[in-house]
């Protein structure tokens, strides 16, 4: 097995871990991590598989660059929503505490 194919297989494993994580993990921040693992796994499969003959291929390199940028955009949006949700949960609990008091 060439190193390239080895990394493609590693990518497949990481993608699978990521999918299982997004389904099984309840904590949303952890789910964001798992989603990022899915993306990284798919990128490794893309480049590793394309270069399994041993030669470097610029086309998947450009695609992965695009993919990394899309992934950080999605991650930032997810974190923003998560933090907003957290912020609202806090203020709501304060409200209920005031009500109880």
């Amino acid at each position: 097995m060439s190193s390239e194919l080895l990394f493609a297989v590693v990518g497949a494993l990481i993608f699978t871990l990521g999918v299982a994580g997004t389904v099984l993990v309840a904590n949303l921040l952890r789910r964001i991590l798992a989603f990022n693992l899915m993306g990284s796994g798919a990128f490794l499969v893309l480049v590793g598989l394309a270069q399994r003959g041993g030669e470097s291929d610029p086309v998947p390199h450009a695609m992965v660059l695009t993919g990394i940028v899309v992934a950080v955009a999605a991650t930032a949006l997810a974190l923003a929503l998560l933090r907003k949700q957290h912020e609202m949960k806090d203020s709501e609990e304060e409200l209920t505490e005031i009500d109880d008091g």
Partner: protein
């Protein structure tokens, strides 16, 4: 129960996937040949940059749109509390940030310029500049951005690179297709687009952090 089913399904899926990858015969199309054949007309000598900004430049245009819209979504949905007043962090960090910023800007400029013929380009340059901005913020020298009160100049910088890219793409429609560079001007146009993108990408990527950040450096 659910856990066991998901783990079993993941094992089966992973096995199938690895099996499919290992068994795959070589592919019938080889784009490396097409890329190499057309490098002379691409305007740059680094193949990845040629793919990113010329052969598949349309992907990149749409990708900047993704980044921009995620930033707008983040501004729409992010924390609504106004950022706290900027508090200086510890002196060592500040000193470090002051020392590090100029060389980081030089590195960013170098990466942008190098992209034409070796690894580098607008994305890496923009990311490095964004990292410098985040560092400045963490050391208390650059305050967080308020999504509700964004000055016009900052909005223009955020979208400027994308607008420039879009305008050049459309202007080239006169030659027949969207983003169809004339081979002789391709190098110059790509450098122009990348320069605009570097500034906007730096602002957008830093914005992803600065709009969200609510604890300034040493704030309690």
């Amino acid at each position: 129960m659910k856990r066991a089913i998901v783990i079993a399904a993941a094992l089966v899926f992973g096995g199938l996937l690895i099996n499919a990858i290992v068994d795959l015969p070589s592919s019938p199309v080889d784009l490396r040949i097409a890329v190499a054949d057309n490098m002379a007309n691409s305007g740059v000598s680094h193949p990845v940059t040629a793919v990113l900004l010329n052969f598949r430049g349309y992907d990149t245009l749409l990708e900047i749109a993704v980044l921009l819209l995620a930033l707008i979504g983040l501004m729409a949905a992010g924390p609504m509390l106004p950022p706290p007043p900027n508090q200086p962090a510890d002196a060592l960090l500040q000193k470090l940030a002051r020392i590090a910023t100029p060389p980081v800007i030089v590195v960013g400029g170098y990466l942008l310029w190098a992209g034409a013929f070796r690894p580098g380009g607008a994305f890496q340059a923009g990311a490095v500049l964004a990292a410098a901005m985040v560092l400045l913020h963490l050391s208390g020298l650059l305050s967080a951005w308020n999504a509700q009160l964004l000055p016009l100049a900052r909005r223009v910088i955020l979208v400027g690179g994308f607008v420039l890219f879009l305008c050049i793409s459309v202007a080239l429609l006169a030659a027949g297709s969207l983003l169809q560079y004339p081979p002789h001007q391709a190098g110059l146009l790509i450098l122009l687009i990348e320069s605009g993108l570097t500034l906007s990408l730096a602002a957008i990527l830093a914005g992803l952090f600065l709009f969200l950040s609510r604890d300034n450096g040493g704030a309690p």
